[in-house]
């Protein structure tokens, strides 16, 4: 691993604050002007088991976490057993002297639990120990550490400071030489965001007022994040009785003129299909966040996968235009959520932001600057008189009015209908009317294709003779892999409507296709859409993200296959 990246791993039991420690470490590194990438590995349990978090730190933006570390902090023996071999040659492994049966001499023992008990009382938690160790090992200013602790461990600040002092004392006695000497830089421009936070904020920037959801990993943190922002952001999170409720509520809210969204994982979306189809029929701008995990059924709740591609593309019975797009970076999570909100409202049809646990729950320092999207054209200014919800227009898009709102009058009757309908919104079974409305929706599909062209629909990264295709968060893993082996990476951001124009140059080409699925779904998709021939399929389907160095190797091998 080039020395530019410094990777920290904290491992321990659920409930010991592994993730919290990683977050604070990431913040500290950012305070020193570094770039960070944080990944949390956890399972479906609340206390116990084995969790670990990685914070990879660099002087340049990092697109993935590293799987070999310069600093390992093990809160328990299981962590030592699991991660003992992941240490880089010059690295340090700190373990908890209170639970370290498997430790060897190369490891540094600290009585983390006993000191925590001495400081906080019987329920003392070791989380802070990792922060203090990191701070020492990287030569951080004690002042910065103390300020950060005050802020981040404010629930029991006194206990925390006591714990810090005790740890400090023991660490000083060890007489370690720090691996780095990092100093506080000026206030960082970027902030630490998870993918889900950026999705939530992007949608909110584009007008999100209501979020309807039922918790499901890895989408739940969108709900949690927005729920916390209720008063500051005037955004309302409704934890509905089920996904079916959430989706139907959201369509109701669209009808009444509010921008809203729903979010879940594959299982929850399986339950929203009928409502998704309803959105197609009533022409509701239903924005959906689908964050994937390995399936089928309950599958593997807390890991990553890209198995839902065709499922996402074909949701809902019947024919209607829909948008499916997948963010390939943290920044894109933000802008794409906003874009899709705009597009859904412009064309009045459902949109899916398809992502994965890897992007949803990993975090990085992200700089959201002003290069934000302009307002999208909207269709909210219908003619005054004789309003018809499904008026047939050239674009297929009909004017929108909202009941009891400034844009409508007492004379307007606004009818949305799940049956096939007349322009007025009243139901019909008549052959010609059915055809007329189906043609209208086909027109909308064309308008949608045009509208998406305003946005960046594909991304390309790197240079080289080898062509690699991927989508979603796999692009992150590949961008980091590029540092180890050069190739040209092409990423369709929009999957439906598919940006054929931008990709015409690649039609019929050979490429290596990388995805997190057990069947080469994305490869099949590229074959269908562009006639891409798979030189090799690099598949991973154990729920885990790739080590980018490993991935670079796989690509090199595939080139010679």
């Amino acid at each position: 691993m080039p020395t530019e990246v410094f990777s920290v791993m904290v491992g321990g039991k659920a409930g010991e604050g592994v993730k919290k420690a990683a977050q604070v470490i990431a913040h500290l590194a950012m305070a020193c002007g570094k770039h960070v990438f944080q990944e949390d590995d956890y399972q479906s349990l609340i206390k116990g088991g084995h969790n670990f978090s990685i914070v990879s730190i660099g002087d340049r933006p990092l697109w993935n976490s590293y799987k070999q570390h310069d600093l390992i902090i093990s809160f328990d023996d299981r962590s030592i057993r699991t991660h003992g071999l992941e240490l880089n040659p010059a690295g340090m492994h700190f373990c908890n002297a209170d639970d370290c049966a498997s430790a060897d001499d190369s490891m540094i023992r600290l009585p983390m639990t006993s000191l925590a008990r001495d400081s906080y009382g019987p329920n003392g938690n070791v989380s802070l120990a990792a922060v203090v160790i990191f701070s020492k090992v990287c030569g951080l200013d004690p002042d910065l550490l103390e300020r950060t602790i005050h802020k981040e461990f404010s629930r029991d600040a006194t206990g925390a400071i006591t714990y810090l002092k005790k740890l400090d004392f023991v660490l000083n006695q060890l007489d370690l030489s720090p691996l780095r000497s990092w100093h506080q830089a000026s206030e960082p421009e970027s902030k630490l965001f998870s993918g889900n936070q950026l999705i939530a904020l992007g949608a909110w920037a584009a007008g999100l007022d209501l979020y309807f959801s039922y918790p499901m990993t890895p989408a739940s943190s969108i709900l949690h994040y927005l729920a916390l922002k209720r008063d500051s952001h005037k955004v309302y999170s409704i934890h509905a009785e089920s996904e079916l409720a959430a989706a139907n509520m959201a369509i109701g809210a669209c009808f009444a003129g509010k921008r809203c969204a729903v979010g879940s994982s594959g299982g929850g979306f399986a339950l929203m299909q009928e409502a998704f189809s309803l959105a197609g029929m009533v022409e509701a701008p239903l924005l959906c966040f689908l964050s994937s995990r390995p399936g089928p059924a309950t599958g593997v709740s807390t890991y990553t996968a890209q198995e839902d591609l065709f499922f996402a593309l074909n949701q809902g019975h019947g024919e209607f235009p829909r948008i499916v797009a997948s963010p390939d970076s943290f920044e894109r999570a933000f802008t794409l959520a906003a874009e899709l909100m705009d597009l859904a409202w412009e064309i009045q049809t459902p949109a899916i932001l398809l992502t994965e646990k890897h992007l949803s729950e990993c975090a990085a320092n992200v700089h959201l600057d002003g290069h934000y999207l302009p307002d999208a054209p909207d269709s909210l200014n219908p003619k005054k008189e004789d309003y018809k919800r499904y008026a047939i227009t050239e674009s297929g898009v009909s004017p929108l009015k909202f009941p009891g709102c400034a844009n409508s009058t007492d004379a307007d009757v606004i009818k949305w209908n799940s049956h096939e309908h007349l322009e007025s919104g009243v139901r019909t079974d008549a052959a010609e009317q059915i055809v007329a409305m189906k043609n209208k929706r086909k027109l909308k599909a064309q308008s949608l294709s045009l509208a998406t062209k305003r946005y960046q629909r594909i991304a390309s990264y790197g240079e080289g003779t080898t062509l690699v295709f991927a989508y979603g968060s796999t692009a992150l893993e590949l961008r980091e892999a590029m540092k180890y082996h050069p190739f040209k990476l092409i990423v369709p951001i929009y999957l439906e409507p598919f940006p054929e124009e931008e990709l015409e140059a690649y039609r019929g080409k050979e490429a290596i296709i990388v995805e997190h699925a057990s069947q080469a779904n994305f490869a099949e998709f590229l074959r269908i859409k562009l006639g891409i021939k798979a030189k090799a399929n690099i598949l991973r389907y154990d729920g885990r993200s790739w080590d980018s160095i490993e991935l670079a190797k796989l690509i090199r091998e595939a080139e010679h296959a």
């Binding site: 920037a205 955004v235 109701g252 809210a253 003129g257």
Partner: protein, 271 residues
């Protein structure tokens, strides 16, 4: 006031109880409108079934939703604009079968909207299969040897779930029903009206209802009495079984409009 008819051909069977409900709702809307509720503020939703056709016969804004989901859709509307009066029409299969969870959660939340249940004791539109309110022994196409399940009692079920206004009307008593609807719409919180609605094609119980229906003298003093009266079968009581004020959902979550422009939102994010 805008004409409440749409001109859409009415396809209910001659004699169907739904005509009475349609008449009563028109009366109620007119009265509410005279009471200074603009038509633009009245919004309807409905499920799929014979009951749902009322959507096409009423010249009001709203959503003709999915089977069973009208009450979820209605809640979304209310949350988006709490000023609106939302009235949802449900079938017994719709609101207490396919969509049971939404009905009970709307009651539990005490969200301010009105559910009018067209209780015809069967799935009319799909040719008379047994519904959650069909009596034991009811023979429909899915239960040709007789329904073996005990029907729910919608009044006591909704009281149990937390509805704060619970009433029963009869489609043949249009004036009484219309008064109930007005009270329900004016009630702050979740209001529920079970409407006894004879289905001449599959469950023609006009005689039974005409024989046995009688008006409650007063609103029962507590849930126990309400339950007792709601379950009576010798007499079938019509009227308000429960009326109570409790915190309303949209108010409890402190819903407010957010007039921030996109630029202001972006600025807040960057702050």
């Amino acid at each position: 006031m805008r004409n409440l008819n749409t001109g859409k051909e009415n396809t209910w069977c001659v004699g169907c109880g739904n005509f009475g409900i349609l008449a009563a709702i028109k009366k109620s809307i007119t009265a509410l409108n005279e009471d200074n509720i603009p038509l633009a503020d009245i919004v309807i939703t409905c499920g799929i079934g014979c009951h749902g056709k009322i959507f096409d016969y009423l010249n009001l804004s709203g959503i003709y939703g999915l089977h069973g989901r009208a009450i979820a859709t209605a809640q979304g509307i209310k949350l988006a604009n709490p000023k609106l009066k939302v009235i949802s029409f449900g079938g017994d299969g719709d609101s207490l079968g396919e969509g049971l969870e939404h009905t009970l959660f709307a009651a539990k939340r005490n969200i301010d909207l009105t559910l009018i249940l067209h209780n015809n004791g069967n799935y009319g539109l799909t040719t008379g299969q047994a519904s959650p309110l069909s009596y034991m022994g009811y023979k429909g196409l899915s239960t040709p040897m007789g329904n073996v399940e005990t029907p729910f009692n919608p009044i006591t079920l909704l009281i149990e779930a937390g509805a704060t206004f619970v009433a029963r009307g009869y489609s043949a008593r249009i004036d009484h029903l219309s008064t109930l609807i007005q009270k329900a719409v004016q009630h702050k919180g979740f209001s529920f009206i079970e409407v006894l609605q004879p289905c001449v094609s599959y469950n023609n119980n006009y005689d039974l209802y005409n024989d046995r229906c009688s008006l409650l003298e007063n609103t029962p003093q507590d849930d126990e009495q309400a339950r007792h009266l709601a379950k009576a079968t010798e007499q079938i009581y019509l009227g308000v079984f429960k009326q109570e004020l409790k915190p309303e959902y949209c108010e409890s979550i402190k819903l407010q409009d957010n007039p921030q422009s996109r630029t202001e939102r972006m600025a807040q994010i960057l702050r």
